[in-house]
Symmetry: C2
Subunit: 253 residues, 2 copies
Amino acid sequence: MAFSEVVRSPAYEQVAHQLREAILDGALAPGDELPAERELCAQFGVSRTTVREALRALQAQGLAVAAGPTAPLRVPPARDLSTGPLRDSLVHLLRLGRVPLADLVELRCALEAAAVAAAATRAVARPRSAASPAVPPTTDDAADHLADARAALAEMRIVGDDVAAFEAADVRFHVALVAASGNEALQLVMLAVRDSVSAHLRDALAALPAPRRAIARLTRQHEAILAAVEAGDARDAELLLRDHVMGFYRGNA
Amino acid sequence: MAFSEVVRSPAYEQVAHQLREAILDGALAPGDELPAERELCAQFGVSRTTVREALRALQAQGLAVAAGPTAPLRVPPARDLSTGPLRDSLVHLLRLGRVPLADLVELRCALEAAAVAAAATRAVARPRSAASPAVPPTTDDAADHLADARAALAEMRIVGDDVAAFEAADVRFHVALVAASGNEALQLVMLAVRDSVSAHLRDALAALPAPRRAIARLTRQHEAILAAVEAGDARDAELLLRDHVMGFYRGNA
DNA sequence: CTCGGCCTGCTTGTCAGACCAACAGGCAAG
DNA sequence: CTTGCCTGTTGGTCTGACAAGCAGGCCGAG
């Protein structure tokens, strides 16, 4: 016969587990405040030390954030999880040499390519949010995001050789593009991946020998991508985006 | 003039930060034991409470693991970082974001399509791990993973109408396929996404009216995909995989 | 000589109680 | 109405303590 290993989990872990499940199941919605520490002590029947250790674990995972010095912890919106802990995990893997930068770039490429393809399909399916009146007017309409992308593009044309300003506009452009896909999951994962490689991107941009020319070239590529998306040409948009991302990575790294 | 906001970080955060940096910089190598709690108290000049909260945070991020009930924490090997916290982060993100199933499926599709395309390219680039003798014989060679996929495929052919067995083989097949891409990042994200949809997949499989026929059809699709990958036909492999995943999703949901 | 048992000193896990600083809200004086 | 204070509550930190588990050495019985 086979014996199963005895498992002993510390109290703080059980407390953390219960709180985590409550948050993930929606019993504690984003924006909600967690009960005060002393309150949790009473509910779980443990000391404050234990509760605090559990809270630190939740905090490290990004499932609870400190609202202020004396305010109770709050449940963050899902978006903060991608720019917070998920990005951190990727950065840790990068720094420890577990995953090479090239793999992350390839991942980003795949994600964003899928996003622009979806955005293109969506853009042509209902050009001006008119097709389905049954759906309430969602705030994140594809048209809005494409307008955002256009605005970012306009910014790029006037930044001259200010690489910092260009990079800010570049971020806005890519984020808007992915948002236009309407796929929340894609967007969240993409944000994290992009964030984790952004440090390298920044260095590459700063080291450009001829910023003005490079910026002009990148801006033209952006224009082409956006045009393809707006025209509903998924295949073209995907290819252009792949060229754009991989070209930049190869040319500078 | 502009004043910058005063930033106050708690002691436990500073302790966690220093330890984190030490680990990421390699000052504490994987496998090493962290100093005992009381030792850290002395070095940082804080109380054990503070040190313990910092350690819980590190633990939650996967940068330290408990070796035993009374043993000091250890720095985990890098591979545990990938399978643990990154996956948790992704699962949390997707659960908390209330991402619709369709979005997840689309995401999985994009990831896996990129993976098989890369695997196909790689398979034809060095068919039998001969091209680059400079590289030490990596244990996770593409050929090994493709062999794994073939083994899983063989299993599928003999499961009959045992959907549970088929699903196990299906998981092995897809995991092996993505592993063959050689892109660790892709693999990690893909595993987490698959985890998030696996419950739905299981239900869909269990509810099949004619399991035997469906299993046969799915197995044939798998065969076609693997054949395309082995032939180095990236484009074909990608299209076949998209059909496979989306077809199953649409047909059952 | 070997082996089981015991004792000691370490570690983590947990607790209770206390203090401080910072914030929020009510309240009174101007 | 504004200003300033006072107080209750919260998180952040410390202290000291105890239990439980593990590793190592020591010792006596066989």
